[in-house]
């Protein structure tokens, strides 16, 4: 209980499944996130890194309580020590917890940028928005443009400004860098770094492990719907990782040896029993295939492996 007070967001054993209907109305649950752990403290950037299309974005929707209706959520989510109930989520989203979406497609194409950033709350925070646009270096007159008229970099800053205007304590950035040049990506991540340095907490959901390690305090490695390891960013650079998958992922990067491993991530409808990585793991033994390893604390990080060290 003591720990929950100093953390801003704490997620334990989060499981998300979708209720699907097969032919003949046979119901089955498709598990996309299983037993996920995540802790976020004020003043830090916590990154979640994993390959594209592995369900990371659903994590943001789960925290905000905006999952599709056929989603079933299990596990515990706490915000400032309080259980995140749907009522609390409804109160917090847009005010305490803000989402920075990944692209301009998340803006209403028929609404001018200014009205859109101001949001639905009245009175419109016009003065603060103008000041914010100046601070973010958005040119005069941006508020009268439609989303399709924004350049990539402008769109990024407009999306970030929606989160800043809300004074949110927790900012969830979902894949903020795809489609950007390196310079733009660095600029965007620098923005999130500054937000965290001002005392907010940022959850950075990304597939770019390199950038995550460069800007985040801690990086959680996401595999087949769960976090296999959470490590301080420095451990990646020092080569002191705990989980065989994170080590393999790091070594697969071009600048770190470019060594791929065989196999591929299991599909959500076809998850193996026991450890999700066991079928591809060089260290796997009989126990790994029988039961899911618990989360263990190792050298200031967390790892979900019987052998991680």
């Amino acid at each position: 209980m003591e720990q929950k007070k100093e953390t801003l967001l704490e997620i334990h054993d989060l499981t998300i499944s979708f209720r699907m209907y097969d032919r003949l109305l046979e119901q089955r649950d498709l598990r996309v996130i299983s037993d996920l752990h995540l802790t976020v403290r004020p003043g830090e950037v916590a990154a979640i890194a994993g390959s594209s299309g592995s369900g990371k974005s659903l994590l943001a929707s789960a925290i905000l309580g905006i999952l599709p209706e056929n989603a079933v959520v299990g596990g515990h989510l706490h915000y400032k020590g309080q259980e995140l109930t749907p009522q609390l989520q409804a109160r917090l989203r847009g005010s305490e917890i803000a989402l920075v979406p990944q692209s301009v497609a998340f803006l209403d194409p028929l609404m001018k940028v200014g009205a859109q950033v101001d949001g639905h709350r009245r009175p419109r925070p016009v003065r603060r928005r103008e000041e914010l646009f100046r601070r973010l270096g958005l040119p005069e007159g941006t508020e009268d443009l439609y989303p399709f008229q924004l350049s990539g970099g402008m769109a990024r800053r407009v999306l970030v400004s929606t989160a800043l205007l809300s004074n949110a304590q927790l900012i969830i950035a979902d894949e903020p860098t795809p489609g950007m040049g390196l310079e733009q990506a660095l600029e965007a991540l620098q923005m999130f770094r500054e937000l965290a340095d001002e005392g907010r907490a940022v959850v950075l959901i990304t597939h770019d492990i390199d950038l995550a390690v460069a800007f985040a305090d801690r990086v959680s490695v996401f595999y087949a719907g769960t976090t296999v390891e959470t490590a301080p960013a420095a451990d990646f650079r020092a080569g002191a990782l705990r989980h065989p998958y994170s080590r393999a992922l790091w070594r697969a990067l071009p600048q770190n040896g470019f060594q791929p491993i065989g196999g591929f991530q299991p599909y959500a409808g076809d998850l193996p029993r026991g450890c999700l990585f066991a079928p591809r793991c060089p260290l796997a033994e009989e126990a790994c295939r029988r039961r899911t390893p618990p989360v263990r604390e190792v050298r200031g990080g967390e790892v979900r492996c019987f052998y991680g060290s």
């Binding site: 943001a60 929707s61 905000l64 905006i66 409804a90 989203r93 847009g94 005010s95 803000a98 989402l99 979406p101 692209s103 497609a105 998340f106 803006l107 209403d108 194409p109 028929l110 609404m111 949001g119 639905h120 439609y146 399709f148 008229q149 929606t162 809300s166």
Partner: protein, 331 residues
């Protein structure tokens, strides 16, 4: 603003050119169809006179009308008269075709306008309800109703309404646009609306289904879009989302669709007016067809083509005005 108006004017001009060429094509085709049809306009004209005509007189009429001339020449002389505003004489009503069309069109316009507004309002509202309740019982029920109504023929629906509300319940008159035995200038607005109600209802019941289904589909698309997800993430409630993002994106497509539906409206009015003996353009075209009144038939054909074109023109212009992504991109 000035540039926007200029753009609008240019677009208006280019559409107008298209409408004129289309009308020319319609006139050529309909004239050709009448020429190859077995109808003998001279015979119909003489029948309409109601008196016996000697072969010499008949030959005189044929000569005056230029029956012996080649079709192209006849077409050109007809077109020339048309351009001077002379649509000819209706054999059925013994009056200039232009007068008949003008008088009948006023009646039809009242009918179509009522039906059009009614269908638009009902269709849009039901579409919104279906879109918001997507997949739940109100959606399924209304969707079934829409499919049912759009597959029912107009005249059948008109007959059913007539049987139920006019004959069995006696709430509405059985036909015509005014009470029998009352002079035209004595008919009150209320009486006109009273006679209008059933045909307008029939016509609107026929056409609201398409607007409702289109609105539903569009709203479902909007509500499952990424920008609505983001709006929810920012704390907007269901009603706020519908008002801020939903209506904005679906109202104007619905409106343009409404204007583009003039053709169905006109087609429906032909049937509805005949069922209800309503003296509009629709019943006139049926009468002209059945009585081989060639000048009136050609006149109404051209006029209805123009009517539909104007509807489409408005729809096209509206789209450009409404969607900023279309308006600012120069062709």
């Amino acid at each position: 603003m000035g540039r926007a108006l200029g753009r609008l004017a240019r677009r208006f001009f280019s559409y107008s050119v298209r409408i004129v060429t289309l009308l020319l094509a319609v006139s050529v085709i309909s004239f050709a169809l009448v020429t190859v049809s077995p109808i003998d306009p001279v015979q119909q004209y003489i029948l309409g006179l109601g008196t016996a005509v000697s072969p010499e007189q008949r030959a005189e009429i044929e000569d005056y009308w230029g029956v012996d001339q080649p079709p192209a020449k006849r077409y050109l002389s007809w077109l020339g008269e048309l351009l001077h505003g002379n649509l000819g004489q209706s054999a059925l009503y013994r009056r200039p075709v232009a007068d008949v069309i003008a008088e009948r069109f006023v009646n039809s316009l009242a009918l179509m306008l009522c039906a059009w507004v009614l269908a638009g309002v009902i269709g849009f509202a039901l579409g919104c309800v279906m879109g918001v309740c997507h997949g739940r019982w109100p959606d399924r029920l209304l969707k079934g109703l829409c499919y049912l109504l759009s597959s029912v023929p107009t005249f059948w629906l008109g007959l059913v309404l007539l049987l139920v509300f006019a004959v069995a319940l006696g709430w509405f008159p059985v036909g015509f646009s005014s009470p029998i035995g009352v002079r035209g200038e004595d008919v009150s607005l209320w009486q006109r609306l009273y006679h209008l109600a059933l045909p307008a209802l029939t016509l609107s019941l026929m056409s609201f289904a398409s607007i409702a289904l289109h609105t539903r589909q569009k709203l479902i698309g909007v509500l499952s879009s990424e920008y609505v997800l983001f709006a929810r993430a920012r704390g907007e409630g269901a009603w706020t989302i519908l008002r801020r993002h939903g209506l904005r994106s679906i109202l104007l497509p619905a409106l343009t669709l409404q204007f583009a539906s003039f053709a169905e409206l006109f087609g429906g009015s032909v049937l509805a007016e005949n069922v209800f003996s309503y003296p509009g353009l629709g019943s006139a075209v049926a009468a002209a067809g059945l009585n081989s009144d060639v000048p009136l038939l050609l006149g109404i054909t051209l006029f209805s083509a123009l009517f539909v074109c104007v509807g489409n023109l408005i729809a096209n212009l509206l789209y450009g005005v409404v969607d900023p992504r279309i308006g600012t991109v120069e062709p």
